[in-house]
């Protein structure tokens, strides 16, 4: 057993560095290496019980714990925001157990753990993006048998994925899947990009940063190495398309970012605001203003951010 990183001064004394014991981290790293070697392939791993419930990012936390080092700077976002419960508690978890620096600034982070969003700011080669994944199997809802879906992945039988998209168009007139929109990785594996909005799918393609996906409940890890081809599935006559908004961000006036709708009162008033809080703050600091911005202190109007 190595104890190199296990200096009690580095974190809370009762815990090993970053909570998990070193053998577990090695096991997860082996799974990660395999996942990086086969982009989009779901690697089983012996997921541990974490001191938080399933659905709160236990998969992402284990991946982060396996890759984080004492010199890393961690950013955690939930629905794009740094200040929501899930993000705050995971950030505090690593601040306490690994004593690492944390940040809300995308550019300053070396590891970003995320639930649902990819930051608007372009990521770099020296950054790692860790996703929390609830259901790793994109074929699950049409084929519940795990033995069968594994076989379908092995033999590249992905027609079923299009059955889902067909059904969308038949019912809604367009592909109504807006999150967890299936992608084809490196022309080989169909992958569930976790419940990120499809707005973020194009960012996954050819991304400079390493992308790691951890599903805690189902104990699966998958990955996208830097600069991997990621293509969203579609039909020739119904091509893939991302969401657009008629409004701009009420706070910073951005028109190119993913906007959350916020209900303001019971008289039908509402506003749209960037889901990426760091992006929005940075724009406001450099002087951008949206129609609802009244130079109030930040946070008061955003604390009531729309729920998922």
């Amino acid at each position: 057993m190595e104890h190199v990183a296990n200096n009690p001064a580095d974190g809370a004394q009762a815990y090993n560095f970053a909570y998990l014991d070193e053998q577990t981290k090695r096991m997860i790293r082996r799974a990660l290496l395999k996942a990086v070697a086969i982009p989009g392939y779901q690697v089983p791993f012996a997921g541990r019980e974490m001191p938080m419930p399933y659905g709160w990012g236990t998969g992402g936390v284990q991946v982060t714990a396996a890759v984080i080092g004492p010199n890393d700077t961690l950013k955690v976002i939930d629905q794009g925001a740094d200040d929501t419960t899930n993000a705050v508690s995971i950030r505090q978890f690593f601040a306490k157990t690994a004593n690492v620096a944390t940040t809300e600034k995308t550019a300053e982070a070396s590891i970003i753990q995320t639930r649902h969003r990819i930051p608007e700011k372009e990521l770099r080669e020296d950054q790692v993006l860790v996703y929390q994944v609830p259901i790793p199997e994109p074929l699950r809802f049409l084929e519940p048998r795990e033995t069968e879906t594994r076989k379908m992945h092995a033999l590249e039988e992905y027609g079923l994925m299009h059955v889902k998209l067909y059904e969308d168009i038949a019912r809604h007139g367009h592909i109504a899947t807006t999150y967890a929109y299936p992608v084809m990785v490196d022309d080989r594996y169909v992958m569930d990009p976790s419940p990120t909005p499809k707005f973020d799918n194009p960012k996954m393609n050819d991304m400079a940063a390493l992308q790691l996906f951890g599903a805690g409940r189902e104990k699966r890890i998958y990955a996208l190495p830097p600069y991997t081809k990621v293509k969203s599935l579609d039909f020739e006559d119904h091509p893939f398309d991302v969401q657009t908004w008629e409004d701009e961000c009420g706070m910073c006036g951005a028109r190119d970012s993913y906007l959350d709708e916020v209900i303001l009162d019971d008289k039908g008033n509402r506003m749209f605001v960037c889901s990426d809080t760091d992006y929005c703050t940075e724009r406001q600091e450099s002087g951008h203003r949206g129609p609802q911005h009244h130079d109030q202190p930040l946070g008061s109007s955003q604390s009531g951010k729309a729920a998922e």
Binding site: L160, H162, E167, I169, F235, E236
Partner: protein
């Protein structure tokens, strides 16, 4: 050069054992393109075991199943790679289950059910897939307006017809049917048989149909195989077997039907 009269399917000495028990024993036959073979026999006589073994769903203990593929010539289906075999099963072959719920996806629309095989072989044009599904719905006598309805809203007979459409959309050459009229009432049975007979004729389908209903066998099949205790006890042209049964068991089977 492949000839019309070369067999599409050749089964040689097929034996399926379940431990010490016989599923079916030493079955051999050939099937030519466009030919309909009926397999009849009482419950437990090995009909379904035989069908599963021929249709690559259950590897037999012994024996050979050879199929004349479109591109590769004659191949032993159990020597193919799994990928090739599965491709064959969803393109050039078709399966009609007794219970349409086994053959349909109940949670997606009729159109998606028919389109699934097309999408599985790489069709990526929504408009074309939908058009094709609509055509097939017409061929099996279901109204176009039901295209976007779930199969669970269909009657039993409609579900069975939908299952047939879903299977035939890739123009298979060989269809396996396991009691296709099993759970249907008599009038619906008659209509389905009529439809099947038309499709088999128009599309020149080769069919292996398992049934315990001699009327169904007489109506659809050219040749008949009678099974008892896992063995084929009589084999011949349908009319010949039914009108002049040789084996005592076949005689019993035929005489057990009410004659008018």
């Amino acid at each position: 050069m492949r000839q019309m009269n070369d067999p599409l399917l050749r089964v040689d000495n097929l034996t399926m054992m379940y431990g010490d028990r016989v599923g079916c024993k030493n079955v051999s036959f050939e099937l030519r393109p466009g030919e309909v073979l009926g397999i009849v026999g009482e419950s437990g006589s090995g009909k379904s075991t035989l069908l599963r073994s021929i249709s690559a769903q259950q590897e037999p203990t012994k024996g050979i199943v050879e199929y004349q593929t479109r591109i590769d010539g004659t191949r032993d289906v159990y020597q193919m790679s799994e990928a090739q075999r599965r491709l064959l099963m969803r393109t050039d072959w078709a399966f009609v289950h007794q219970n349409p719920r086994d053959g349909l996806r109940m949670n997606v629309s009729a159109g998606a059910n028919i389109g699934e095989r097309l999408m599985a072989i790489g069709d990526r044009h929504y408009g074309n897939i939908r058009q094709n599904a609509d055509n097939w719905l017409g061929k099996v006598e279901i109204a176009s307006e039901r295209l976007d309805d779930l199969p669970s809203t269909f009657s039993g007979g409609m579900q069975q017809r939908l299952q047939i459409a879903r299977n035939l959309v890739t123009s298979p050459r060989l269809v396996f049917m396991d009691e296709p009229t099993g759970g249907l009432d008599v009038s619906v049975q008659a209509r389905l048989l009529d439809l099947l007979r038309g499709l088999v004729h128009d599309l020149n389908l080769a069919v292996i149909i398992v049934t315990h209903d001699l009327a169904v066998a007489r109506l659809l099949s050219h040749r008949l195989m009678v099974m008892q205790q896992g063995k084929v006890i009589e084999h011949g042209l349908t009319d010949q077997v039914l009108d002049d049964p040789q084996h005592p068991y076949t005689q019993l089977l035929v005489s057990s039907i009410l004659q008018n």
